[in-house]
Point group: C2
DNA sequence: GTATATTTGCATCATTGTTGCATTTGAAAT
DNA sequence: ATTTCAAATGCAACAATGATGCAAATATAC
C-alpha cells in the first residue's frame, strides 16, 4: 500500500508532510523518533507541523506512538494499516531502539469489578538481538 | 513500616523531603503526580530537589514512576517496599487517576531468540470504578 | 482557474526533566 | 555539645516535548 492511498482511504488531504511521514514510517524496520523522521525527510517542515501531522495520523490510526520512560518518543505504523493485532513493544536499553513485536499479541487481563478496559500497552525493556553479542 | 525506617534500611540520609515523599506516597490510595505530592507537603521544596529525590528513591526501588502518554507522570510506592510482585497499572481516562493493580501480576512473554528481558511495563487504560456509574 | 476550508510556519508559552554551582544540612567523629 | 565534611538543597539556566493563536500558503472541490 502506498502513502497516498492511506491518506485517501482516511479522507485526509494529501500534504507532502503527511505523505513523507507515512512513507518513512512504512519503510522503517523500527519505530522512529521525531528527529529520525525529520532527518529522513531532509529537515523539511516545522516542528509544529510535525506534531500536528503526527496527531492527525494517530487519530486516524495510521501511526501509533510508543513512549519510553517519558522522554523518548517513537512512532510506528499502526496495526490498522498492517492488519495485525495489538502487539508488544520492545525497547533496547543499549541502542535505544524500539521495535513493534508484531508477532507477539498482547495477553488479556481480568480487571476487578467496576473497571472497564479501553486499551492496553505492554513495553518490554531489555537487550535486542543486535546488542546482545 | 515508617518512612524513616525505609530510608535507614537503604542507607539514605533522612532528609525531610525524602521522608515527606515516602509518607505521602505510602498513605496514597493511588499514584500521585509531582504536584499532588507537593500539595500534600504544603508546597515546600524546590522542583529540582523533588526530581532528585524521586530519582534517588526510584534508584533504591522505594517508589516507581508510571508514565501515561508521556506527559502525565505519577509516582507510587514500590513493590520492594510492599513485598508485592510486578503489577499492572490502570489509568482512568476520565479522572486521570493511576492505580497500581497490586493483585494483578504481569503475564510473561516469550521473546524471539536473541532478545533478553530486563523489565516489563503494562498499562491498561479505561474507566475506573468511581467513574463508571 | 477560482473559491474555500485546511494546513503550514512562526512566535510564544507550558510542562517535565537536567546540570552547574554556591549554600545548607545530616550525621559521624571528636 | 561541637566540629567536620560529604551529601543534599535551592537557584539559575537550559533542553526536549507539546500546545495554541494567527497570518500566509496550499489542496481539493467546483
Amino acid at each position: 500500500m502506498k502513502a497516498v492511498e492511506v491518506l485517501n482511504h482516511h479522507h485526509l488531504k494529501r500534504t507532502s508532510c503527511r505523505e513523507g511521514i507515512i512513507e518513512v514510517v512504512m519503510n522503517a524496520k523500527q519505530a522512529l523518533s521525531e528527529n529520525e523522521i525529520r532527518e529522513r525527510l531532509s529537515g523539511k517542515y516545522d516542528r509544529t507541523t510535525f506534531y500536528r501531522s503526527f496527531k492527525t495520523l494517530e487519530e486516524h490510526k495510521i501511526i501509533h506512538k510508543i513512549v519510553v520512560d517519558n522522554q523518548l518518543v517513537k512512532y510506528a505504523l499502526d496495526n490498522s494499516v498492517t492488519h495485525k493485532d495489538e502487539h508488544v513493544h520492545f525497547y533496547c536499553i543499549k541502542c535505544n531502539s524500539v521495535k513493534c513485536m508484531d508477532n507477539i499479541p498482547i495477553k488479556k487481563y481480568q480487571l476487578p469489578h467496576g473497571y472497564s478496559e479501553i486499551g492496553i500497552e505492554v513495553l518490554i525493556k531489555g537487550i535486542c538481538e543486535n546488542c546482545k553479542k
